[in-house]
């Protein structure tokens, strides 16, 4: 009998909410977390950028304990979300379970803020970097801190695949549980790049919107960078059932591949292949009960390509299923996108609420699916996909279904 993997706990922090329940409420209400912020590190340097920030997090970070207070913001987000997910799951990591408990936490970039600070201090004030700079910026900092915090002594590492990091981390952790390398795992991703230097680097790509994020809308102006973390507790199904855990869904499919074509432009075939792989063993049933949390970045590169890929995979059924991009509300969390968006997909599955694509006010002939525009819809969902398609042509798709 093949081992199955289920989600038994969730934790989220992003512009749309400080916790998973607040995140779900704000998504349902279509609350936009995007605002203009000025990043001015001194010496006349200043950038005013539309971003989706997590406000007022510093006090919470300080309360996460002395060790975590000294880490980069991306580790602090991961810890806050993991604390919530573990408490939500009711999981106890005892001595017997610890060697089979994993921590697979993705990030697109790592401790960008700490690196920025260290370089600014060197270049502006001639100061040496803080001696913990390296420990703050390494991409595996969240995985390592979670393993220490919760006593997880099984497989632990970071996965980095730009905007697909979170989906890759969740999918790979689930594969490891299926293969018996772990029984449980904390899986997800974290990102915190809202700092002067990284934002200027993003602006140099000329793909960022200067106002809102408008996925699938003809008046789209580009992506909006967000920050935060989304962490799931994954668990082998029989174990979860035996301890009477609350089960959100089964992570029933995972597809990953690479376009092998271009660093920036996504390929329809790559996205199509990853979605097909994710659903190949699923009984989809009525396509009207399928929800796809789209990658939906609000860029001309992504939106029409993703639309074509969904049509390619589902054929005529593409007109029966429902799609939305919650990036319209919480922005693009880059590496962490797959983490929080998996939680949005679970919300649709568990509560029958499709989070809307807000700011969709000008239909685009190249984007002709039902994107749940502007208002949440009540709808039964049996299968929920979460799409992540990264710069560099790296694709990861998660498929959740009811147990």
């Amino acid at each position: 009998m093949a081992r199955r993997v289920v989600v038994t706990g969730v934790g989220a922090v992003c512009a749309s909410g400080a916790t998973a329940p607040e995140f779900r409420r704000n998504l349902e209400a279509g609350v936009c977390g995007i605002k203009k912020k000025t990043f001015a590190p001194g010496d006349g340097l200043s950038a005013t950028v539309s971003v989706a920030p997590v406000e007022g997090f510093e006090e919470r970070a300080a309360a996460l304990g002395r060790d975590i207070a000294r880490t980069d913001r991306f580790t602090q987000f991961a810890v806050a979300a993991a604390d919530e997910a573990v408490a939500d799951s009711g999981l106890e990591i005892d001595e017997a379970l610890a060697p089979k408990a994993a921590a697979i936490i993705g990030t697109g970039i790592g401790g960008a803020g700490s690196q920025d600070q260290a370089y600014m201090a060197m270049l502006q004030q001639g100061r040496r970097p803080h001696p913990l700079t390296i420990l703050r910026i390494i991409p595996n900092a969240p995985a390592s801190h979670l393993s220490i915090r919760f006593g997880l002594r099984g497989p632990a590492f970071a996965i980095s695949s730009a905007c697909a990091s979170g989906a890759h981390a969740i999918g790979v952790c689930a594969d490891m549980i299926r293969a018996g390398a772990a029984e449980v795992g904390l899986a997800g991703a974290s990102e915190a790049v809202l700092s002067y230097g990284p934002l200027e680097a993003w602006r140099a790509m000329h793909i960022m919107s200067d106002e809102l994020c408008r996925p699938f809308s003809k008046n789209r102006k580009g992506l909006i960078i967000g920050e935060g973390a989304g962490i799931l507790v994954l668990e082998e199904y029989e174990r979860a059932k035996a301890r009477g855990a609350k089960i959100y869904a089964e992570l029933a499919g995972f597809g990953m591949n690479a376009d092998g074509k271009d660093m920036i432009n996504p390929a329809v075939e790559g996205a199509t292949g990853a979605m097909r792989e994710a659903i190949k063993t699923l009984d989809i049933g009525d396509a009207a009960n399928v929800y796809i949390n789209a990658h939906g970045t609000g860029t001309l590169m992504n939106d029409p390509t993703e639309t074509k890929a969904i049509r390619e995979v589902f054929g005529a059924d593409a007109d029966r299923l429902i799609v939305s991009s919650t990036k319209s509300m919480h922005g693009h969390l880059l590496g962490a996108a797959g983490g929080v968006e998996a939680i949005a997909a679970l919300m649709a599955l568990n509560e029958g609420v499709i989070p809307p694509t807000i700011n969709l006010d000008e239909p685009d002939p190249a984007c002709d699916l039902d994107y749940c525009p502007n208002e949440a819809q009540r709808r039964r969902v049996d299968v929920a996909l979460s799409n992540s398609f990264a710069f560099g042509g790296l694709n990861a798709v998660l498929a959740f279904k009811r147990v």
Partner: protein, 83 residues
């Protein structure tokens, strides 16, 4: 009292989460609650605040034999003299 002793004590105390009262030369190092992070932070702060360079190399374990805060102060001061 040796040079900079009060400043050094203040820096160490700031990282000694295990100690609630005053630090003296006789306080056991094992009671300080200093972890691997704190050692590099203490060295960094001493350098920044006192404007000295400590030729500290973690590979040489210069603090290995310390039993009391007095031993720690002596080790830091000895490193400061080398610079």
């Amino acid at each position: 009292m040796a040079e900079h002793e009060q400043e050094l004590l203040a820096i160490i105390k700031n990282h000694a989460v295990g100690v609630s009262g005053d630090l003296t030369r006789d306080t056991p190092v094992a009671d300080l609650g200093i972890d691997s992070f704190a050692i590099v932070e203490i060295v960094y702060e001493v350098e920044e605040k006192l404007g000295v360079e400590i030729p500290f190399n973690a590979n040489q374990n210069p603090f290995g034999e310390m039993k009391t805060v007095g031993d720690l102060l002596d080790a830091v001061q000895s490193l400061m003299k080398q610079s």
